[in-house]
Amino acid sequence: MKKRLTKIIALFAVLAFMMSCDKELNLYPLDQVSDGSFWKVPSDFEKAANAFYGGLPGASGGYDQDSDIAVGGSSNTISNGSLIIENGPGWSGQYATIRGATRLIERYESALDIQSDIERYAAEARFFRAMTYHNLVSTFGDVPLVKRALDLDSEELDAPRAPRAEVVDYILEDLDWAIAHLPLESELVTSEKGRVTKGAALALKSRVFLFEGTWSKYHGGGDSNAYFSLSIDASQKLIESGEYELYTGSSTNSAYRFLFLEEGEGSKESILARRYNRDLEIFHNTTRLVMTFYNAPTKQLADMYVCSDGLPISVSPLFQGYDLMTSEFENRDPRMAQTMLVPGTEFDYLGLRTFIPSIGGTNESTPSGYMPFKFVSDNSEAQLGKAYNDYMAFRYAEVLLNHAEALYERNGSISDSDLNLTINKLRDRVGVAHLTNSLVNSYNLSMLEQIRNERTVELAFEGFRFNDLRRWKQAENKLPVNLLGVKYTGTEYENSPPNDVKTIQVDSDGFTIADDAIRRSWDDKLYLFPVPVEQIQLNPNLLPQNPGW
């Protein structure tokens, strides 16, 4: 009995002992690495830099609906002026990118032993940080300038907004460092294709400072010419690098359209693209979205295409009027027919079809009567919703347009040789007569307007137009008006089913009204978006709010 008791007590004692070791409470993650053990080898920095690429703008079927050159299925709250403060754009995501970039840069600075191997990743981080601050400044004006990765109790959390110029200086600093430390496109090995290059940083610099230059010129404040010079200098360097050229394809009638499709993918025109990939099942739905006509071009855009003689339709003898559905497409800049589908075109879209526009706001009908064509692929896979071609976030054509515009804005003029270096390159691609000073003078045209129109048609539906109108301070003139479509009264459209006569609205000249001016307005406060009210609530030092809000 006693023996057994001893045994039993021993058994419980063993159990108790087994439970008494304390080490089991020091547990560590089984599927994550700690920050302390990271940042040791170059590939760690590479991985950290890779995280920024998801922030590049991606392909979309609906860019520019916030402007006057496109309308969608329903009226756009930015374009029609009805945006209210509570649903303004936020900035949380932007500061998250800035934090990620800043952390990488800080780790780079302390990783002395491998610094030379990781310079380019620090430069990529600076590129993305600059791009993000540009997004913030161009949207909100003055914004908080955060220069380090903050802690929970950092005083910067409660800091007021930094003046625009100070943020822009910071962007310049980042960009110059990035330009100095990034490789050229031609220096990338295949596996690096798609990474940020010196060219991308130059392109961004050209974009940022054209924006800031025109902003300060038309909205006041800052030294606009200094900004223009920075932009010109950057685009000049990029052009002179010889790294990039326009995609010319095989024909002036298709090169422009193919540039945005599988055919033009990876061309030398692309400076930095958001990448898609079939093997990885990373795709976009642009073709399908565009073809459901949710991104219909307007008459405002259509009228900006010059005739093949290089003259605007208002003065060109080649313009054929609106009588037939196809007449206005005749003798025009071929980009028009590559951006909008010409009525009557036979096109293989999931089967050969002849496209006649149905004017209206319902599915598969276009509110303006114009049918979009840019970004629409011939490939049936893309037509079914899976397109794998890259989307260019920066392309050479924009840099050429930036260059021409900045030169003109700074100097008040632009030489024919500079035009030949920039805009006329774009016209050569599509076979349109050159823009020259003599042409402008002899028809009493505005050179600035020609440059701006060239920019608008070349970059149509790539998301530039609304920002352009803002920096030119033209939104107040261009937005609160009827967004028009095809000429309806007295043209072929009037007698062409299946348009619904009872609901098609026309203006006094007989043009279809795609979005009625009655429902559109502009308030100058919209030039800058409101600081998100929640952020003001969390940090009252962000006050005052932007004007008018």
């Binding site: 994550q32 990271f38 299925g73 029609n80 459901t292 969390l538």
Partner: protein, 1065 residues
């Protein structure tokens, strides 16, 4: 008190029976315990000797009797005592007994757990039949508490216990379903009717924290368990610890503790077989009500014109012409682009849905020998959902073996081993996707194309019929639990026991998701691409191992006849490791055999996850009962967890309960009013460590690696991101609970009840700090919040047996609680989590009616912050701060024009139970409901034409503003931007969600005793039962009041009619 005389009782019966017991025991022991080689029969023989008729020369009056309950069911083990002596016996397994009495006129005291103790005068009779009355208040019932048991009378805390019977007599396939509404203070919600995906959630006494920890810690036989896979038939009792009594579980008990005890055999009991089964038809109900084609066309016409766009059917003519075409069931109009206008209504519901079927079988065998007891069960349940075709079922097997064995007189081993396996089948996107497609899709789309394929394309719509079929693929989810639980208890001295328990639970999950190619077809039969363009197979495997070791001693002694002292103390260690892995391939060349290795090697993907946590604990409890009147109990627990940094790892928790059993006081007894009266007070603390895998290592700065970006030729470049900001100071949330309670019984215990009021304070709640976004990262949670929850529970029960043939019982409860977020560390935002308001507060604008005319419109347009295209017929909200602007905040950042519209939390939960027994029939009904609740619908349910291509739901038809319907509840129809304005959250979008639901109605019939005896079975009951048959509520449009989310994407609950059988022999 009733006496029945039984003829022909045979005096030497007892001996015969004892022999039977012995034989049965030998048989069982040999079979079940053959592994225990040291078991010998002498023990049994000895026992028999002890139990045999005692020879006492003084005794001379032999009396035979039988003890049974009101239904004639024998009560084995009832104790029979000659009053005033120590002379007593126990009834055998047929309720029969024989006792030698000292006096012919002796008084017998018969007692049995759960029944009112009776005294019976013998009056010279030689045999008696004693019918025991159930003790409604059940004061001597054993109640399971943490690490021990107490009688209901002497438990110190606010504790609720129900027996397994509550679940047995209903067609309940899931324990959680069965627990809904049966315990005051416990709220069970379900979020879907999907078989196997019901999304049950448990809550005790309202919210404790915004971080979770709001559901109780569920312990099955002392270790953390999974209620979803537990066999309801295995439950002996369910206990809910609601107040300081939960403190004994310390760190994880913030949400209360639910203790489940599974059935065990009883020693010295004959083998008993039970079989229960039921078969249910699950009837489709509570489907969202949809408009018909005419109503759709009218609404679309109105809405599109109002926004300046073109009605969908405009191509078919004027509105009148279109309606006429519908009447004529006109042929479809081809409007180009492979699109058509169809003029016929389609009865989608009868095509998509069908009644479901539910079957349930359960076999159990239990009994016990002299040294051992056993209970083993096998359960099978299958539920087929309401999709008429397609994968939509859930199937579960349960096996359990509970076994107790006295190794020596001092050492007892209990092992409880269970295995359960469930298999859920669904389509590749889940069953509720079918409902989402159905709710949004036009009622006039045809199901099939001209060529007979499912119609799969027009403006991107997907055909719910196609997704409700077996073609798109199949998801198989298998969950297996293997739980082993071993308990060794050793009686060191008479009053001191040492207990050790080791439990290991394996949780295994295996999923296979197969996606097939899903083509779409135009109405004219031409192909229109694919919804899924390739075959894909994904495997997912998860396994976790949970270990729990505990060791404690238990001391209980009564000193000087009135100082009743219990002392318990011990330690435990818990750890859990969880690992998962998935892999996928695509492009299978065939679909007959689906195995990963048969897929293309081009897109092979795989990944894994793992995590672990551990808790160490020390605990103790001291209970002192004086004179059966005063009860004081103190408990204490110290927990250490791996989740916090070493400095912040340990937490101390404890509780104090005081009871006064007033009915034991002479002066109360004198009143002759109370059969029982107890007043309880308790105060205790528990912890919440927010154990979910997302924040197991919050004190360590981590990097997430993941994602792919296609550099080069598809380099699959991974990216690294910061996992979130960390905090070293994060620690336990401490929850204080104070409870005042009253238990009472009057009128011969026929009326009993209890009342509890409580307050819970979470004083250092972990909150994700609201910091300005310039921080750029997600701030960690800090212990900065403070939440206060208050509530009450009241329950009342009336039970009476009017005769042996007729008895009835009525019981009900009402409970409620509210909370307020006392402190949120300053940073103040209008949000659902805001200082000074309840968690989940809904903010809305102040509804000011609909703009009825141009004058009102012009006046209203003077305000800013309103849509610039606002029209007559649109909503008007009040500018309550008078700043000329409708906005969330004013220019200074103060609150603008929104007000607190309360929360959508259920208030005034109630349950009501009626049971009637008449002769061999029994009837019961059970109603559960919520007295007050606000519902705010979401998505397609909230706004007509939320997306212009979603169909508006029927509840809006005829209820929107029109010039000739100015009194309409809702503003005008439009697909323009003002529709969002019109349906901003306000008093006008609030829906009254109060309801009372007849959860169950059961009518049963048990075969009478005489028949049973002939058949040699002890119980046979058949019953008809209906679940969720009726609901009283004011919800419109087919919205289910029990639905806890406001969205229209919802697999509805069904009504169930079932037939069941309980058989025991």
């Amino acid at each position: 008190m009733k006496f029945f005389y039984r003829k022909g009782l045979n005096p030497p019966l007892t001996r015969k029976l004892n022999l039977k017991i012995m034989l049965t025991e030998c048989f069982i022991l040999t079979i079940i315990l053959s592994a225990h080689a040291n078991v010998t029969n002498p023990g049994i023989v000895n026992n028999l000797n002890k139990k045999g008729i005692e020879v006492n020369s003084k005794l001379q009056h032999i009396i035979n009797g039988v003890v049974m309950d009101a239904f004639g069911v024998p009560l084995p083990g009832a104790s029979i005592l000659e009053k005033g002596t120590t002379n007593g016996v126990q009834a055998d397994f047929e309720g029969e007994f024989q006792i030698d009495l000292a006096s012919k006129d002796a008084i017998l005291v018969i007692s049995y757990l759960g029944f009112v103790t009776q005294e019976v005068e013998v009056n010279g009779q030689s045999s008696v039949t004693i019918t025991m009355e159930e003790d409604i208040a059940n004061l001597d019932e054993a109640v399971v508490i943490g690490y021990g048991e107490r009688t209901k009378k002497s438990i110190a805390g606010s504790i609720e216990q129900i027996s397994g019977e509550v679940l047995e007599n209903r067609p309940v396939t899931n324990v959680l379903n069965g627990l809904q509404g049966v315990m005051p203070g416990l709220t069970v919600t379900r979020s879907s009717g999907t078989p196997g995906g019901e999304g049950y959630a448990l809550n005790v006494r309202g919210l404790t924290s915004i971080n979770g920890g709001n559901s109780p810690l569920v312990l099955i036989d002392g270790t953390e368990g999974d209620l979803n896979l537990l066999n309801p038939n295995d439950i002996e009792s369910t206990t809910l610890l609601k107040d300081a009594s939960a403190s004994i579980y310390g760190a994880r008990a913030a949400g209360g503790v639910l203790l489940i005890t599974t059935k065990t055999g009883k020693k010295n009991k004959k083998i008993r077989f039970s079989y229960t089964t039921n078969y249910s038809t699950n009837v489709v109900s509570n489907l969202t009500e949809r408009v018909n084609i005419k109503q759709w066309v009218e609404m679309d016409w109105e809405a599109k014109l109002a926004s300046g766009s073109i009605p969908q059917f405009a191509g078919g003519g004027t509105l009148e012409e279109v309606l006429a075409k519908i009447d004529a069931k006109a042929e479809p109009d081809d409007i180009g682009g492979n699109a058509y206008l169809f003029y016929e209504d389609v009865d989608w519901d009868s095509i998509l849905f069908d009644d479901g079927i539910q079957t349930n079988h359960n076999i159990s065998i239990d009994g016990g020998g002299d040294r051992s007891d056993y209970s083993t069960s096998f359960g099978y349940t299958r539920v087929d959902g309401i999709l008429s075709d397609g994968w939509d079922s859930d199937e579960r097997y349960n096996l359990r073996l509970n076994h107790g064995y006295d190794i020596t007189d001092h050492l007892r081993l209990e092992s409880k081993i269970s295995y359960s396996r469930s298999r859920t089948l669904e389509g590749p996107r889940g069953s509720s996707n079918v409902f989402a497609l159905r709710n949004k899709m036009f009622t006039w789309f045809p199901v099939y194309t001209l060529s007979g394929d499912t119609y799969g394309e027009q403006w991107g719509f997907e055909n719910p019929k196609q997704w409700a079929s077996k073609d798109p693929g199949k998801s198989t989810r298998i969950r297996e639990n293997l739980d082993g639980n071993f308990k060794l208890s050793y009686k060191i001295f008479k009053d001191l026991k040492l207990q050790s328990q080791a439990a290991i639970n394996r949780r295994i999950g295996n999923d296979e998701h197969f996606r097939n190619i899903v083509p779409r077809t135009n109405y004219n039969g031409t192909p229109a691409g694919f919804s899924q363009s390739k075959t894909e197979l994904q495997y997912w495997n998860q396994n976790s191992t949970y270990k729990n070791f505990s060791l404690y001693f238990d001391y209980h002694k009564i000193f000087a006849g009135k100082h009743d002292i219990s002392l318990m103390g011990g330690t435990s260690h818990e750890e859990n490791e969880n690992k998962s892995f998935w892999a996928s391939r695509d492009n299978f060349s065939q679909t007959e055999v689906l195995s990963l290795n048969l897929g293309s090697t081009e897109n092979m993907l795989n990944s894994s996850n793992a995590n672990q946590w551990a808790i160490r604990s020390y605990f103790g409890r001291l209970t002192y009962v004086l004179d059966s009147k005063y009860v004081a109990e103190i408990n204490y627990r110290r927990d250490g967890t791996s989740v916090f940094s070493p400095e912040k790892r340990w937490g101390d928790f404890g509780g104090l309960s005081l009871n006064w059993i007033a009915s034991e006081e002479r002066f109360i007894k004198k009143l002759n009013t109370f059969d029982f009266l107890k007043i309880r007070a308790s105060y205790g603390t528990t912890g919440n460590q927010n154990l979910n895998s997302a924040n197991l290592y919050d004190y360590i700065a981590l990097i997430n690696i993941g994602g792919v970006y296609p550099f080069g030729n598809g380099e699959r470049a991974q990216s690294a991101t910061e996992a979130g900001l960390v905090s070293q100071s994060r620690t336990w949330e401490d929850l204080e609970t104070a409870n005042l309670g009253l238990d009472f019984a009057f009128l011969g215990s026929r009326l009993s009840g209890s009342l509890d009021v409580y307050k819970k304070n979470n004083n250092n709640m972990l909150l994700g700090v609201n910091l300005p976004s310039v921080l750029g990262g997600s701030p960690p949670a800090k212990n900065i919040g403070s939440l206060e929850t208050k509530g009450f529970e009241f329950s009342l029960k009336w039970a009476e047996a009017l005769s042996t043939d007729f008895s009835y019982g009525i019981s009900g409860y009402l409970s409620d609680n509210t909370n307020i977020l006392v402190d949120l560390d300053g940073r103040d935002l209008i949000s659902s989590t805001r200082e000074g308001y309840a968690l989940g507060t809904i903010w809305g604008y102040v509804w000011d009616g609909i703009i009825q005319n141009q004058v009102e419109l012009n006046e209203y347009k003077k305000l800013t912050g309103i849509p610039n295209d606002i029209q007559v017929g649109d909503a008007r909200y009040k500018d309550i701060n008078g700043d000329g602007k409708i906005s969330l905040y004013d220019d200074q950042g103060n609150d603008g024009d929104v007000v607190d519209l309360g929360t959508n939390a259920p208030r005034y939960s109630f349950g009501f139970n009626l049971s009637v027994k008449y002769k061999d029939f029994d009837f019961s009904t059970f109603i559960q409901g919520v007295g007050k609740r606000s519902v705010f619908y979401e998505g397609a349910f909230a706004i007509p034409f939320e997306q212009p291509w979603w169909q508006p739901l029927k509840r809006f038809y005829g209820n929107t503003w029109q010039p000739d319907n100015q009194g309409a509840k809702y503003p005008r129809l439009t697909t323009g931007g003002t529709r969002y304005w019109n349906y901003r959250t306000s008093e006008n979008t609030r829906v009254n969600g109060a309801y009372a639901r007849f959860k169950n109605i059961t009518l049963g019939y048990s075969l009478p005793q005489e028949v049973l005896e002939k058949l040699n079975i002890s119980k046979l009951r058949i019953y008809f039962s209906g679940e969720d048959l009726f609901t009283i509520d004011s919800m419109t449009g087919g919205y289910d009041a029990e639905n806890t989310n406001g969205s229209d994407v919802f697999y509805p609950f069904t009504k169930r009619y079932s037939l069941g059988l309980n058989l025991t022999f």
